[in-house]
């Protein structure tokens, strides 16, 4: 029936490799800014290294969990509750770049939405992975989706459309895998499209970003500033790249290069070789994740691992798609690699859970 395959060493290597690339790029993409702003070119590297260490400790802790607490409804409820509280707390923390996304705490900023994403996946996989919930029972399903709606409303309120979109996508993925009938997806999208259109229409910036995406040349110097320079960066990387540290686009041509456009810098400095390496690593992550899900033996962990895997890889592919301008400009951090503590720790928590499931595939079975 279910064999114990043991811990997925291949996935662990992928995680470690991505983290290492992240560390290199953390220095590489910020040294100029750090030198200028803090007179210490290692400023961001030091912080990122600190986050990585903390993240790895959490990762190891979760990986070695004997009892998979993340499958426990009491724990999930607690996490979900804390996430909601944190998401409400951001509104008391002051605006940064015109949105409430951060809670400032002891000199650090935490982005609760990164963790809310995980708790939503934990929650959804729990409710749809249990016997008594028929996903196609619409009334009950919508009732159980209330936490999801609350989170999404808060995302809109912040506003954080990137994560709004991501959580929506992951929810759809989970519902899809859980077996929701296709017709409900069609109904849903009929409801969703006018809503999304409204969101876009209401914000001139968003509208112009979409327009700029549709006709890049026209808006080159205004709204399309980032995408064009992202293309420049990737394009002039060539096959072998300009060499580490030789990016010219990070010279402030690409704002937030260290987070929203870090892939472009990798592609510029390491060329096609580097960019394909990153794409393949995420693809391996994806393949291994699906594989672990398949072999995890029960619907709960199946949905959970698929949800978490998609959370990481779809965010990565969205980031890359924005960079190569097949998706409108939107700030998605590249998991493992972009600068930012919350994102890194959240990604390592996800990795920890996946690894833990891969390790305890047998125990998972016994547990229920």
């Amino acid at each position: 029936m279910v064999k114990n395959i043991g811990v997925d060493k291949f996935l662990i290597s992928v995680i470690i490799l991505l983290s290492l690339i992240g560390l290199i790029m953390a220095y590489n993409s910020t040294m100029l800014l750090a030198k200028e702003k803090y007179d210490d070119s290692f400023y961001f590297l030091k912080r990122q290294l600190m986050w990585l260490c903390l993240g790895l400790i959490i990762f190891l802790f979760i990986s070695f969990l004997k009892h998979p607490i993340y499958l426990d409804i009491k724990f999930i409820s607690l996490v979900l509750f804390l996430s909601l509280v944190a998401l409400i707390m951001v509104f008391f923390s002051g605006k940064i770049n015109n949105s409430y996304r951060w809670i400032r705490f002891a000199g650090f900023s935490i982005q609760p939405s990164e963790f809310a994403k995980i708790s939503i996946v934990l929650y959804l996989s729990y409710i749809f992975g249990r016997k008594d919930v028929n996903v196609n029972n619409l009334k009950k399903m919508l009732f159980l989706l209330i936490p999801f709606f609350i989170v999404e409303l808060l995302m809109l309120k912040e506003p954080d459309y990137g994560n709004f979109f991501l959580i929506l996508a992951i929810t759809i993925v989970i519902l899809f895998v859980a077996g929701l009938k296709i017709k409900y997806f069609i109904y849903g999208s009929l409801l969703l499209f006018p809503f999304i259109y409204m969101i876009i229409k209401l914000s001139p910036v968003r509208m112009s970003r979409i327009l700029a995406f549709l006709s890049p040349e026209k808006y080159q110097s205004t709204f399309n500033f980032q995408p064009i320079h992202s293309l420049y960066a990737i394009g002039c990387g060539g096959i072998f790249g300009q060499g580490l540290g030789n990016s010219t686009q990070k010279l402030y041509f690409l704002p937030y290069a260290y987070s929203d456009f870090i892939f472009s810098i990798i592609a510029e400095e390491a060329g096609l070789i580097g960019s394909l390496l990153v794409v393949s690593l995420f693809f391996f992550f994806f393949v291994r994740g699906i594989n672990i899900a398949k072999h995890s033996g029960n619907k709960h962990t199946y949905l959970l691992v698929i949800g978490l895997t998609f959370l990481v890889v779809s965010q990565a592919m969205l980031h890359i798609s924005v960079a190569i301008v097949i998706f409108p400009a939107k700030g998605f951090p590249l998991p493992f690699i972009s600068i930012g503590g919350s994102s890194l720790i959240a990604t390592l928590i996800i990795s920890g859970i996946i690894i833990n499931i891969s390790k305890h595939r047998k125990m998972v079975l016994l547990n229920d």
Partner: protein
């Protein structure tokens, strides 16, 4: 615990396929961008962050013969506007325009360029130091700092203001020589421009600098001009021109031994740093480009020719027809009528009729040959631009009476520099020496110019003694200084205007001293003096005043006369 059913597995498989297609599309796009469109992007990026700037070389310094600076280039700042937004640029421009001096034309031009949406607009080049300080303060207060920028440029400074302006000339806004010595030695003094590749970031800040070609500073130039001499020559010239309300005047002071120019002044003066605002008429260097009929000063050339060719001797007597001499259908007059005059007296008293008689005796072929050997009708070759050739008709075009008029300096046009060279033939002991103003380039002293002997020493001695008499007892008495022999010759010529000689005159005086061992040759031209107009009355006194100062300055102690003093 629920097992995973088939439907769920299939759903996951569909997701797997969809996601894989997405990833494949990304890979396809990456290959396209990074391999196939590579050249397109690399050229775009290069143009985006690589800028090639030319670096201005430092223009060489011009020194006088004592090592005093006549012209030097110093680093200054030039302000420009990098125009990204019309409205904001206009706002900044309004702010700036109050702080710096701009002409109306410049103001209009800047506004026009802002409205035309030009990206790069000069506000003012080569700012004064205080202007730069003011603008820098404004720049620091601006919110968008990239809109106002400064670049280093060299600015030509003439520390002695108008001194020797015509000899120096001047430069344009790009430090290119426009006239004077600045123009003629431009290729030496300009240096070679450098090129620098600058890597800039998105904010226009320089990130990396790579020198493609280092600029090479221009060579320093040493002139033979002595600014002290130049100074008092200019001062005295100005006095005379203003006194006689003349149109212009020019003085050339030359070292008799090697024809190097000690001073070269042309009035009206101008400020070489304000060449842009100076009219063409004022910029003209009369010393090399003023063409005029020389008149009586030319008689020294005639006399030299007659003596050299052996057709006359000093005591030979000529009939001077009491002041009116008809030749063919023309008439020649003398100011003071003489019945008979010796060869010497003809020159000393400057008789036109006498000169014509000498010329007729000499004959046109011999005279023409002398004129050619003195270099009339061709440039002296001094290292200054815009030199005139003068006008000397070829022998074929001479009429039968041309030689008579040429004898006292008509039917020929000369420049002051040609005349001073002619006088210096006698002063230098019979040599034709090319006038020169350039002494050295960098530390290399230029070799002395070639001398051509064109007069025998006997001719030269006779000419000198005649010219001493001109100053002692003849028309040049007003140039006389007790205690020193000065050789000279006056000249007064009617000006040819619209093909007719009118009542406008050019007064001139040429001479050298000490007559027995000349050190200085000088030539003076005053154009259209009002009131008095005889060379002996206008130019000779100026010659005397300059000579007095030169004697002191050059420590020339002539043989002292009986009272052991020189009245100077």
């Amino acid at each position: 615990m629920i097992k995973i059913n088939k439907k769920e597995r299939n759903r996951a498989f569909i997701l797997f396929i969809v996601f894989s297609i997405w990833v494949l599309f990304i890979v396809y796009k990456l290959v396209k961008i990074q391999v196939f469109d590579y050249t397109k992007y690399i050229s775009k990026v290069k143009s985006q962050c690589n800028r090639i700037f030319s670096l201005h070389p430092k223009r060489g310094t011009i020194y006088d013969c004592n090592g005093d600076v006549l012209a030097i280039s110093i680093k200054t700042k030039s302000a420009f506007l990098s125009n990204k937004d019309k409205k904001e640029s206009m706002k900044i421009y309004r702010l700036l325009s109050k702080k710096i001096s701009l002409t109306n034309g410049e103001r209009k031009n800047i506004k026009k360029r802002i409205n035309k949406d030009r990206k790069f607009i000069w506000i003012k080049r080569k700012l004064e130091d205080r202007e730069y300080k003011k603008l820098k303060k404004i720049k620091n207060d601006l919110s968008s700092k990239s809109t106002l920028g400064f670049v280093d440029e060299y600015k030509r400074i003439y520390p002695q203001k108008t001194l020797a302006a015509h000899a120096l000339g001047g430069v344009g806004v790009d430090e290119q020589g426009l006239c004077g010595i600045e123009y003629s030695v431009d290729s030496l003094i300009r240096g070679k421009g450098g090129k620098v590749k600058v890597l800039i970031d998105a904010r226009g800040k320089i990130f990396e600098i790579e020198y493609l070609k280092q600029p090479v500073a221009g060579k320093d130039i040493f002139l033979s001009i002595d600014s002290s001499v130049q100074f008092f020559v200019e001062k005295e010239l100005k006095r005379t021109v203003e006194k006689f309300r003349a149109k212009r005047g020019s003085v050339i002071v030359m070292n008799s031994r090697d024809s190097s120019i000690l001073a070269m002044a042309s009035y009206p003066f101008y400020d070489p740093s304000r060449i842009k605002y100076t009219s063409q008429r004022v910029l003209k260097n009369a010393a090399v480009s003023f063409l005029y009929d020389p008149g009586s000063t030319f008689k020294i050339v005639l006399a030299s020719s007659a003596l050299e060719n052996g057709v006359c001797y000093p005591q030979q007597v000529f009939n001077c027809y009491n002041g009116i001499f008809h030749i063919k259908n023309r008439t020649i007059y003398d100011v003071h009528p003489y019945d008979k005059l010796t060869f010497e007296k003809i020159i000393i008293n400057s008789s036109n009729i006498g000169a014509a008689r000498i010329g007729l005796r000499l004959g046109k072929e011999k005279y023409y040959r002398t004129l050619k050997s003195f270099g009339f009708g061709s440039k002296t070759g001094i290292n200054l631009p815009a030199e005139e050739y003068g006008i000397l008709n070829s022998l074929k075009r001479w009429s039968n009476i041309s030689v008579a008029f040429l004898s006292f300096g008509y039917e020929i046009a000369v420049t002051p520099i040609q005349m001073v060279r002619a006088f210096n033939v006698i002063a230098s002991g019979g040599y034709l020496i090319k006038p020169n103003i350039l002494k050295g380039v960098d530390r290399i002293v230029l070799p002395e110019v070639r001398k051509v002997k064109i007069l025998s020493s006997s001719t030269r001695h006779i000419m000198t003694s005649i010219m001493i008499e001109v100053v002692n007892t003849g028309t040049g008495k007003q140039a006389k200084i007790e205690g020193i022999d000065i050789a000279g010759k006056t000249g007064t010529a009617k000006k040819l205007k619209n093909g007719r000689y009118e009542d406008c005159y050019v007064s001139s005086f040429g001479g050298f001293f000490p007559a027995q061992d000349p050190r200085i040759t000088m030539f003076i031209v005053i154009d259209e003096p009002k009131g008095k107009y005889y060379g002996g009355e206008v130019a000779a006194p100026l010659f005397k005043r300059i000579t007095k100062r030169l004697l002191i300055y050059l420590n020339i102690f002539p043989e002292l006369d009986k009272r052991n003093e020189i009245r100077i």
